[in-house]
C-alpha cells in the first residue's frame, strides 16, 4: 500500500554541470601534452557501460618527462619556496575544489559508479578539507615534532586506487605539496577523469609548472613510475598484492615507501550497544561506496546473546537501502566499479556459499545494464571461511558471533590485515579495553568509516605501513 502512497520519484542530479572532453592527455610540466605511447584507454560509466572519454596511456617516455618536470620544479621553485607561500597555493586549490564541487561530484559519480549522495556529501568536502588542513601545515613544519628544520624528500611517485579517486588524490597530493615535495601521480585506470580535471585546477590555481604531474595509465604505467630512478618517495594505496610487488621493486633503493593496502575490518557489537545506531554503523561500514572501501567493516562480530535480535533489524534496515542510478540523489548503493571487480566479488561470494555459509540479499531489482551486485549478508560464517579472511571489496558482509570480550578481540585480530575496526558498546571501560587490544590502524568508537584530515590513517600487517593525514602523515614526506 505504501508504495502507492509515497514512492520516491527519480531525483537525478543534472549531468550538464560536467563538460567532458573527448580525450585527455597526461599533465606534465604544467601542460596537457600528448602521450608519446600513442595508446589510450576508455573510461566507462559503470552504471550503464557507456564510454565517457578516451584517456591517453602514459608510456615510459611520458613518465620520464613527468619525473624530470617534477625534479626541475622541486629544485628550482617548490622546495625553496617559503612555506607560507606554498600554503597559499594549497588554500587556492582547496577553494577551487569547493567552487567546482558539484561538477566534480557528478563527474566522480559518472566515472566511479558511487552514489551522488556520497560524492556530494563525503568525497568532495573531504578532498577540499585535506587541502585546507595541509595548507595550514605548510608554514608550521618546524612545529610538527619532526625536528627544527624538516626537509622535503624530493619527487614523490604516487599511485592511487579507483574507490575514492579524487579523495585519494587529495590524501596524496596535499601533504606532499605542503611539505615541499613535487608529485607525479598515476590515477587508477578505470577512474582517471577527476584527476584530469584536477590538472585543470592546478592550472587555474597557477601552481608552478611541474609541481604536480599526472600520468594516466594502467598497471604498467604505475610500474614504470614507481621503479623510475628519478623518484625519491613512493606512496601507494591499493591492493595488498600490488603493494607487495611495489615493495619488492623499491627494496634496496634510496626510495622511501608508504603503503596503504587492503583490510578486513571487524565491527564488534557488544550486547549493551545502542542497537539502532549500531545497525546504522554496520550498514554504513560495509555498504557505503558498495563496499569498495579498504577500511570497510566487512566482518560483523556480534555478541551471541544479542545476535538473534540484531540480525533481523539489520536485514530490515538493508531492505530499505535504495540501489540504482548513482546520479539519483536518493540512491544509497551504486554500481560496482568494473566488470573485473564484479567478477571478483561474484567469485568470492560463491565460495562463501560453497563453504557452507548462508547468503541473504534483500529483494532488489538490479538494473539491466552496468555492473551491479546486491547487498549481501553471509551468516553461519566461521573464521576458516575464505569470506571471513579475504578482502572482497564489495557489498558483502560476513557475520560471526562471539561470547566474551576476549573472544571478540581474538577473532577481530585473527586476520592478516589490520586497517580498521569498530566497537559498539555504551560502556566506556569496555570500549577502552577493547580498543587497546585491537591491532588496527583505526578503531572507531560507536561509529564507522569516519575520516578526517587531522586524524592519521594507516594499517598494521598486510594493510601496509606509514600513516596518511594528521601530524603523523607529514612524516612520510619529510626527511
Amino acid at each position: 500500500m505504501s508504495d502507492e502512497i509515497f514512492e520516491y520519484a527519480p531525483a537525478p542530479e543534472s549531468r550538464s554541470v560536467v563538460s567532458l572532453r573527448p580525450s585527455y592527455q597526461p599533465y606534465i610540466g604544467g601542460e596537457l601534452v600528448p602521450a608519446t605511447s600513442g595508446e589510450s584507454l576508455t573510461s566507462v560509466n559503470p552504471a550503464d557501460e557507456e564510454p565517457l572519454a578516451e584517456v591517453a596511456v602514459s608510456g615510459e617516455e611520458d613518465v620520464d618527462r613527468a619525473v624530470a618536470a617534477a625534479r626541475r620544479a622541486f629544485d628550482t621553485t617548490w622546495s625553496a619556496m617559503p612555506g607560507a607561500e606554498r600554503g597559499k597555493y594549497l588554500f587556492r586549490i582547496a577553494r577551487i575544489l569547493q567552487e567546482r564541487a558539484r561538477e566534480l561530484a557528478v563527474l566522480e559519480t559518472l566515472d566511479n559508479g558511487k552514489p551522488i549522495r556520497e560524492t556530494r556529501d563525503l568525497d568532495l568536502p573531504l578532498a577540499a578539507a585535506h587541502f585546507f588542513y595541509h595548507a595550514g601545515w605548510a608554514d608550521k613544519l618546524p612545529h610538527a615534532g619532526l625536528g627544527p628544520d624538516p626537509r622535503p624528500i624530493g619527487v614523490a611517485a604516487q599511485v592511487i586506487p579507483w574507490n575514492f579517486p579524487l579523495l585519494m588524490l587529495a590524501w596524496k597530493v596535499a601533504p606532499a605539496l605542503a611539505t615541499g615535495n613535487t608529485v607525479v601521480l598515476k590515477p587508477a585506470e578505470t577512474t582517471p577523469l577527476t584527476a584530469m580535471v584536477f590538472a585543470e585546477i592546478c592550472q587555474e590555481a597557477e601552481l608552478p609548472p611541474g609541481v604536480v604531474n599526472i600520468v594516466p595509465g594502467a598497471g604498467p604505467t604505475g610500474h614504470t613510475l614507481v621503479s623510475h630512478a628519478g623518484v625519491d618517495k613512493v606512496a601507494f594505496t591499493g591492493s595488498t598484492e600490488v603493494g607487495r610487488q611495489i615493495a619488492a621493486t623499491v627494496a634496496g633503493t634510496h626510495k622511501r615507501l608508504t603503503l596503504e593496502l587492503g583490510g578486513k575490518g571487524a565491527n564488534i557489537v557488544y550486547d549493551d550497544a545502542a542497537i539502532d545506531q549500531a545497525v546504522e554503523g554496520v550498514v554504513a561500514g560495509v555498504f557505503r561506496n558498495q563496499g569498495h572501501v579498504c577500511c570497510a567493516g566487512s566482518r560483523l562480530l556480534v555478541q551471541e546473546s544479542v545476535a538473534e535480535e540484531f540480525l533481523p533489524r539489520l536485514r530490515e534496515r538493508i531492505e530499505r537501502l535504495r540501489l540504482g542510478d548513482p546520479l539519483d540523489k536518493n540512491t544509497d548503493v551504486g554500481a560496482i566499479n568494473s566488470a573485473a571487480q564484479l567478477g571478483r566479488i561474484r567469485d568470492l561470494a560463491a565460495t562463501g556459499t560453497a563453504e557452507g555459509a548462508e547468503a541473504w540479499s534483500p529483494a532488489c531489482e538490479l538494473p539491466e545494464r552496468g555492473h551491479w551486485f546486491p547487498p549481501t549478508v553471509f551468516t553461519g560464517v566461521s573464521q576458516a571461511h575464505r569470506i571471513a579472511r579475504e578482502e572482497i571489496f564489495g557489498p558483502v558482509l560476513s557475520v560471526l558471533t562471539f561470547r566474551t570480550p576476549d573472544e571478540a578481540v581474538a577473532k577481530a585480530n585473527n586476520t592478516p590485515y589490520g586497517l580498521s575496526a569498530g566497537v559498539w558498546t555504551e560502556k566506556g571501560a569496555r570500549m577502552l579495553w577493547t580498543a587497546e587490544r585491537l591491532r588496527a590502524g583505526v578503531v572507531w568508537s560507536n561509529t564507522f568509516n569516519k575520516l578526517d584530515p587531522a586524524s592519521p590513517f594507516g594499517g598494521y600487517k598486510e594493510s601496509g605501513y606509514g600513516r596518511e593525514g594528521g601530524r603523523h602523515g607529514l612524516e612520510a614526506y619529510l626527511g
Partner: protein, 314 residues
C-alpha cells in the same frame, strides 16, 4: 532483549520500572542525529512530492492554543480544516483541529459532518502542574464536550526525578477518563534532555495505554526535532515487532514549511515503515504549515506561486 521482555504493568513499583527502563537499549545521540540528517537529505520531487503534500495535509492537526482563542477563531479554523483550499475542492481536509477544552464544543459543532476530528489538550496543558483530580476532570469535560482525541502531557517533573510510577499511573488514569477518545501522550522531548529519556518516556506511555506518542506542546523550545521523532518512531516500530500493535506518533511544534513536513514523512517511511504513512498513525501538529502546503500544492498543479493572500488565514 529488554524490548521483548514483558514489562511491568501499571501497578509496578518504581524499582521495577526503573530496572525495566534501564534495560532498554541505549540511544547514541551522535548516531541518531547523523541518521536523521541523512534522511533529511532525501530529495522528494514531482509526483512523489505531490503525494507527500496531500498526505501531509491529511495528517495536520490544525492547532490553536492561545490565551486569546475565541469561539470565532475556533469556528474559522474549523472551516479551514474541513476545506483548506476554497479555490480547489480537491484539496484534502486536515485530520483534526486541536483546541483547549473549553472550546471543544465550539469546534465539534463547527466540524459536524465534515469527518475532521476534534482534539483537545488536557491535563493542565502545557506544564501539567495540577492535581490528578483536576487533570481527570478536565479530560472528562473535553470528552463530554465531544472531543474525539485527547492530547495529554506527562508529568516531566516526576519523570526526571525517577518517579516513573507516577507517570504511568497518570497516563493510565487519563486513558480511562478518555473513554473512546484517542489518547495522545505528549512527552515534551525538549524538557527530557536526552534521547535515552525520549525512548524511555515512549515506552512508559505505550505501556500505559497511549494511542499516540507526541513530541511536544509547542510551548517549549526545541519542539519537534527529527532525531527525537526518529527515536519515537523506532520505539513504536519495536513495539509493533514485539506485540503486533501499532501506536501512532505526532510531531508537533516548529514544523512550518512543506520541506520540513516532507522530511518527517521520509523519516516515518524509512524508520517505522510505510504502514505508518496514514493519519491514523502519524500526525503533524501545526498551524502555519497548512498554508505553505497549500501554496506548494497549487504551485505543483499550476506551475506558479500564488501570493499568500490567495490562501485563507486560520
Amino acid at each position: 532483549m529488554p524490548d521483548t521482555a514483558s514489562p511491568p504493568g501499571p501497578a509496578a513499583s518504581n524499582a521495577s520500572l526503573r530496572a525495566y527502563l534501564r534495560g532498554l537499549p541505549g540511544v547514541d545521540e551522535v548516531g541518531a542525529r547523523e541518521r536523521a540528517g541523512e534522511l533529511a537529505a532525501r530529495s522528494i520531487k514531482s509526483a512523489a512530492k505531490g503525494r507527500a503534500i496531500d498526505l501531509a495535509i491529511r495528517m495536520v492537526d490544525l492547532t490553536t492554543l492561545e490565551g486569546a482563542d475565541s469561539p470565532g477563531k475556533v469556528r474559522a479554523m474549523s472551516a479551514k480544516a474541513a476545506h483548506p483550499d476554497p479555490a480547489d475542492p480537491s484539496a484534502p481536509a486536515a485530520a483534526a483541529v486541536c483546541v483547549y477544552p473549553d472550546l471543544v464544543s465550539v469546534a465539534v459543532a463547527a466540524l459536524r459532518g465534515t469527518g475532521v476530528g476534534t482534539a483537545s489538550v488536557a491535563t493542565a496543558f502545557p506544564a501539567g502542574r495540577a492535581p490528578l483530580e483536576a487533570k481527570l476532570a478536565e479530560t472528562r469535560h473535553a470528552v463530554a464536550s465531544g472531543a474525539t482525541e485527547i492530547d495529554m502531557v506527562i508529568d516531566r517533573g516526576a519523570f526526571l526525578s525517577g518517579d516513573y510510577r507516577k507517570v504511568v499511573e497518570e497516563i493510565a488514569a487519563v486513558k480511562e477518563a478518555s473513554g473512546s477518545a484517542h489518547l495522545k501522550v505528549i512527552l515534551e522531548t525538549g524538557e527530557l534532555g536526552t534521547l535515552d529519556n525520549v525512548r524511555r518516556a515512549c515506552w512508559l506511555a505505550i505501556r500505559a495505554g497511549a494511542d499516540f506518542v507526541k513530541t511536544s506542546t509547542g510551548k517549549v523550545a526545541p519542539a519537534a526535532t527529527l532525531p527525537g521523532t526518529l527515536v519515537m518512531l523506532e520505539a513504536v516500530r519495536d513495539h509493533h515487532a514485539n506485540t503486533g500493535a501499532r501506536v501512532g506518533v505526532k510531531a508537533a511544534g516548529g514544523i512550518r514549511g512543506t520541506k520540513d513536513a516532507v522530511r518527517y514523512l521520509v523519516l516515518v517511511n524509512e524508520v517505522a515503515g510505510a504502514a505508518w504513512l496514514t493519519p491514523d498513525l502519524f500526525r503533524i501538529g501545526a498551524s502555519s504549515l497548512l498554508n505553505d502546503l497549500l501554496m506548494q500544492r497549487t504551485r505543483l498543479a499550476s506551475g506558479t506561486y500564488p501570493g499568500p493572500d490567495y490562501f485563507t488565514l486560520d
